[in-house]
Symmetry: C2
Subunit: 148 residues, 2 copies
């Protein structure tokens, strides 16, 4: 048995069933898109702040559940991505939820290291507020934008 085969079993999820089972059932049957991904929203468990939006394939979703740490699929690098593996900013999963049609998950995490999630060094990837509309739309750093 190859390394791949020896670990692939944990990536197997049952196929999505009909709508009643999908929406009201007790079985996790993710609806992966044509690229094999579901969307993941990650929030800080203590504050509720949205830290990032990323993607998970079956393998990273399974690894996240198995290990209790967030694993994503990096679309830009085309590889599994154990968040914080190099920086120490491991995301410890406090709770995972799935949405009604099972194409998105929400994880509440406690972040190791300095608590940051964004590659720019900021705590959250959502550090800019959109102000105005149309040609006048501008991005303001959240700290400058005042209370929302």
């Amino acid at each position: 048995m190859s390394d791949h085969e020896s670990t692939s079993s944990i990536a197997a999820f049952p196929p999505p069933g009909p709508k009643p089972a999908l929406e009201e059932g007790t079985e996790l049957t993710p609806r992966f898109d044509r690229d094999g991904l579901v969307t993941c929203v990650t929030t800080e468990a203590g504050t509720g702040e949205v830290l990032m939006v990323a993607h998970m394939n079956a393998r990273s979703l399974a690894l996240t559940l198995e290990t209790g740490e967030a694993w994503y699929w990096s679309r830009s690098r085309g590889e599994l991505w154990r968040k914080g593996a190099t920086s120490g900013k491991i995301q410890h999963v406090v709770e995972m939820r799935v949405d009604c049609d099972q194409d998105a998950v929400w994880i509440k995490v406690r972040v190791g290291g300095d608590g940051g999630a964004c590659h720019t060094g900021r705590r959250s990837c959502f550090y800019r507020v959109v102000s105005g509309a149309g040609p006048d739309a501008r991005l303001l750093m959240a700290d400058e934008a005042g209370p929302g």
Copy 2:
């Protein structure tokens, strides 16, 4: 000028620039995917609860900014979707943020009507907690799952 042409101007966003402008700039230059969509995370402004994950095309993003109410693009119906238009559960946008690489937005909303966001009648689409891993993974209704 057709109706389409008369309103399409507000859907125009400048094309994404190089990484420094994308990440640190003050211009909203959404990185729409191959289907012309960005991901939108919607949270309840008061509680921070994640209500839903949906998608916006240029038109719905522009309309959301123009009107202060959430407009999405329904992938299943292939049409613009003014959330709450029929149910009265209009989502009033308190703040919009954009993430580092501008392929996702986060809106904080106050919801009209009974405050619900999910088509199943629940407040949030994320009403089930994932418990366990591998073949033992099960979904529990959030109210039954205890504090996360």
